[in-house]
Symmetry: C2
Subunit: 196 residues, 2 copies
Amino acid sequence: MKKGQRTKQQIISSVAPLFNERGYFATSMADVMRVSKQQKGTIYRYFASKDELAIAAFDYAYAKVKKRFAKAIKDKTNTVERLIAIVEIHAELLEDPFFEGGCPIFNTAVEGDDTHPELFARALRAMQEWQEMLKITLVKGIERGEMQALNPDEVSSIIISSLEGSIVMAKLYADKKHIKQMAKHLRNYILTNVAK
Amino acid sequence: MKKGQRTKQQIISSVAPLFNERGYFATSMADVMRVSKQQKGTIYRYFASKDELAIAAFDYAYAKVKKRFAKAIKDKTNTVERLIAIVEIHAELLEDPFFEGGCPIFNTAVEGDDTHPELFARALRAMQEWQEMLKITLVKGIERGEMQALNPDEVSSIIISSLEGSIVMAKLYADKKHIKQMAKHLRNYILTNVAK
């Protein structure tokens, strides 16, 4: 990696948790300078605007989540086990200080579509991708007879909503037990209401 | 109500949905002027700062939610019915254009505690109050033998997280079906896993 590329990456990785914690609007260029330890001129050499940097930060955070997910389900061939692994990776993921601010997708969703339309569109695409991954697992599970013939659209929405809600609860109460309880609850739900 | 009081109330009620939709930071004084149809001078006559107005807007939105809740559970003496009514009021509440932006408590929670500490503290207090209401219903349900001896802390966290998560999903996908599905799912959960 060339020096310029390294500096660009260093800026992105250092500001991504900040954008995630505070949101796009509440993060100022002064915050970006402080956290990245870079001069304004250097930041603007790599990013035309705060917008561009916010998008790069979102992409970075989302790629980090996806990598963890892929690792968690890699060796799970049974669809029920795979679904449970997806649920349980959340509790682990939030142990990483990087995600102290919660889920980048949901945080961006809450900011709304008129605050930063391009960022919102990215969050929507990320959510669709994530839900699709769950739906594929559910469809496969039904085909293989490992799962009950439920509606994959509904079940995936319920699992994601529940997990995401518990992440915000944990942020509000500053207590991760809300995520752990939810993971346990969903594990039980999957075993008794989704699995055959 | 005196004219001054009326103007103040009109400003609060007109800007409350905006603060809820866009968040504290993304809402500018220009937005406030546009939506309230008031001059800057008039707004500053009643509110010392955007901070003060944001807090008044939050209190207004929260009072609106509480009123609906109280009405929904008023005639429910059975604790299981009461719990289901609390769940189902969410789907109805979100039909009100006022709450297009989602739940004021959760939206504020996502903005984080360092963005606007006083607003965050208010969101936390509101959540504690709400969870307490659910916990009281659960404790009563257990005492009366209408519910299983579950942990009220956990069950209330699971119900609130699930509902709130589905509200954000609905905002992201611009589709209220996510809330309706969740209400149905929680109804079933309460009847089979919480009720005796």
